[in-house]
């Protein structure tokens, strides 16, 4: 079948080019380990950050869209005010079920960056979780969303983020194909996982760089 060989030659050229592209894109600083079969595929849809004034902060998703890496620095004590977004930082991201089967959360891999930093003791967090449909390329969602945390957000220390999430309704939610979970307000673009330094923290929390890596592992749900 000479047509088959011609087709194979084209594919070989494409694969060689893919290799060059992959070498260019590879992310050298994160490790990934989630099985992605296509039938089951829950990936990060978007991830962004709003930093408090005069602080640093980044949020990145890994190449395979499974691992989130957050870092922040130069944080300072503030008196948290729900209506004043200069008193807290916001990170928000979504998890989208792009596969074909319903899934449920199995566990969360959560690792602190610079765990010895005294800043972790005074770093507070407030979390809202919503469930809805995946976002379209224009940023809009289809249909309505539903809050998993109600009117009262989850409150605690940012260093206990995984425990807080596993203790919430997130642990029991069934995510259907085409559905998404996002951390924040009803509008995916608005407030999310908030973080701030307790106003009573001491000088030892100054000039600290902290962060975490976060990965959600899912399992098939077919009860």
């Amino acid at each position: 079948m000479k047509k088959t060989r011609f087709l194979a030659l084209i594919l070989v050229a494409v694969i060689m080019a893919m290799g060059a592209g992959y070498a260019w894109w590879v992310d050298a600083s994160t490790v990934t380990g989630e099985i992605n079969t296509g039938t089951m595929d829950v990936s990060v849809g978007f991830a962004n950050i709003h930093k408090p004034p005069n602080t640093t902060g980044t949020i990145e998703e890994s190449e395979d869209e499974k691992l989130i890496t957050f870092s922040a620095g130069n944080l300072y004590p503030t008196k948290y005010n729900n209506n004043d977004d200069s008193t807290f930082g916001k990170i928000h991201f979504s998890l989208e079920n792009r596969g074909t089967i319903p899934v449920k959360l199995r566990d969360i891999e959560f690792d602190l960056i610079n765990p010895e930093s005294p800043l972790w003791v005074d770093l507070e967090t407030s979390i809202h979780i919503h469930k809805g449909t995946v976002r379209l390329p224009n940023g809009k969602s289809l249909g309505n969303s539903k809050s998993l945390t109600g009117t009262n957000p989850i409150r605690g220390k940012l260093k206990d983020l995984d425990t807080l999430l596993l203790g919430s309704q997130l642990n029991d939610v069934e995510l259907m194909p085409g559905e998404a979970i996002w951390f924040g307000n009803e509008d995916p673009e608005l407030a999310s996982i908030r973080y701030w330094v307790n106003k009573d923290s001491g000088n030892e929390t100054q000039n600290q760089e902290i962060g975490f890596t976060l990965k959600f592992n899912w399992k098939q749900f077919n009860e």
Binding site: M1, V12, G21, A23, G33, I35, G38, N114, N222, E223
Partner: protein, 404 residues
């Protein structure tokens, strides 16, 4: 026992009906209709029942004879299962390189039974429809038809929301390489199997692969590039091998033609070529790099090629110690120097003090961990001179090498 098949007749109406059925089922699967029932009820009860109905209707209609004679059926089934097994083995070999992970699927007895029904009915139903599409035409091989049918079957494999979540060019390429193209080539091979031996042959091939994915407690955790390579090339090679099996008069005629090289040697050449190109551009954990200057003489001389092991995680970074030779990026060039000191800086990060063995002074700027590309593992003397001759030294600014 003899089975009577009716003569193959072209039937465009049947094809149109089958295409409509495939698209109709796809639209129902992706419609708001399923919102009226509990999600898992729709996925694990309604859809399997629908596929069983499709199979029943297919069974009641006129059977279409595939290309191969009945006496070769057993051999076809053997080869279909053999290639299915090969696909699994190749993926597991990929797992030896990239690692394994836990399967996300339900492995309780009840879960396995549900999955077998849920996956099996859809698989058999789709292959029956594929069989009608492929064999409702002429008896001659038609690669364009195989590709078109495979394209349709691949497009409907992914939910509409999956396509909606492709928001960047990189995302599109990764989805195409890791998922779409491997499924497409598998589907092309399945179309060919259906053409030669009917739907049962492709059910055996695809069924073995699906059974492994859904039942195995561990699965290879392949990088998307590995998954793309294995997924795309394996079915194509299978098809080339399969086409040379003496199962039909057409295949026997092809064997009489003189090829300059056998399929096996072509496969080997292709795999080696791809491997060499990927090695050169840095896909693998170890990559080559040509040395242009004499800052590391006498251990490393200009024209030598060093093999560098990539630093990809914090554990690799922690293994670096004084005395190791690392390759790091400084502005737009790569430098390979020895570590003579390691310092901890704020935020838990580290930086390296480096010096070329042949330099009098240490490099004036410490190297941060983010700029470290890898650790030099081996040196291949002199074989990099052709690269130096081609590139010359015009890209290298000696002032940037960090001499005091």
């Amino acid at each position: 026992m003899t089975v009577n098949y009716l003569p193959t007749k072209r039937s465009n109406i049947k094809r149109i009906l089958v295409i409509a059925a495939i698209i109709g089922i796809y639209l129902v699967e992706n419609s708001p209709v399923k919102g009226f029932v509990k999600g898992s009820t729709f996925t694990y009860i309604i859809m399997p029942v629908s596929w069983i109905l499709v199979i029943f209707i297919w069974k009641m209609t006129r059977k279409i004879r595939p290309m191969t004679k009945i006496k070769h059926k057993r051999s076809l089934k053997f080869w279909a299962s053999y290639f299915g097994l090969m696909y699994i083995v190749i993926n597991m070999l990929g797992g030896l390189v990239d690692g394994f992970g836990r399967s996300p699927y339900n492995h309780t007895i009840g879960g396995i039974i549900v999955n077998v029904i849920f996956v099996g009915t859809a698989l058999v139903g789709r292959e029956c429809l594929r069989g009608t599409l492929i064999n409702s035409g002429r008896k001659q091989e038609n690669i364009i038809l195989f590709i078109l049918v495979a394209l349709l079957m691949t497009v409907v494999k992914y939910p509409i929301t999956r396509y909606m979540t492709i928001r960047t060019v990189e995302g599109l390429i990764q989805f195409a390489a890791q998922h779409f193209l491997p499924n497409l080539t598998n589907s092309i091979f399945a179309s060919y199997l259906v053409f030669v031996g009917g739907p049962l042959t492709s059910v055996i091939y695809l069924g073995m692969i699906e059974a492994f994915i859904w039942i195995s407690p561990i699965l290879p955790n392949l990088k998307w590039i590995t998954s793309a390579f294995i997924g795309i090339m394996s079915p194509i090679f299978f098809m080339m091998f399969f086409s040379e099996l003496p199962l039909s008069q057409e295949s026997r005629q092809r064997k009489k033609e003189k090829y300059e090289d056998s399929t096996l040697s072509w496969v080997i050449t292709t795999v080696v070529s791809i491997g060499l190109i990927w090695f050169a551009v840095g896909v693998f954990p170890v990559y080559p790099s040509v040395i242009a200057t004499g800052s590391m003489k006498p251990i490393i001389n200009p024209g030598d090629i060093i093999l560098v092991k990539k630093i990809t995680n914090t554990r690799d970074m922690e293994d670096i110690k004084e005395g190791d030779i690392i390759q790091f990026r400084k502005d737009s060039i790569l430098i390979s120097h020895r570590i003579i000191g390691i310092e901890k800086v704020g935020g838990g990060n580290i930086q390296f003090i480096t010096k070329g063995d042949n330099n009098k002074e240490i490099d004036w700027e410490p190297v941060s961990s983010q700029n470290v590309k890898g650790m030099v593992k081996h040196i291949l003397p002199k074989i990099g001179w052709p690269t130096l001759l081609i590139k010359g030294n015009r890209d290298i600014d000696i002032e940037k090498m960090g001499f005091k």
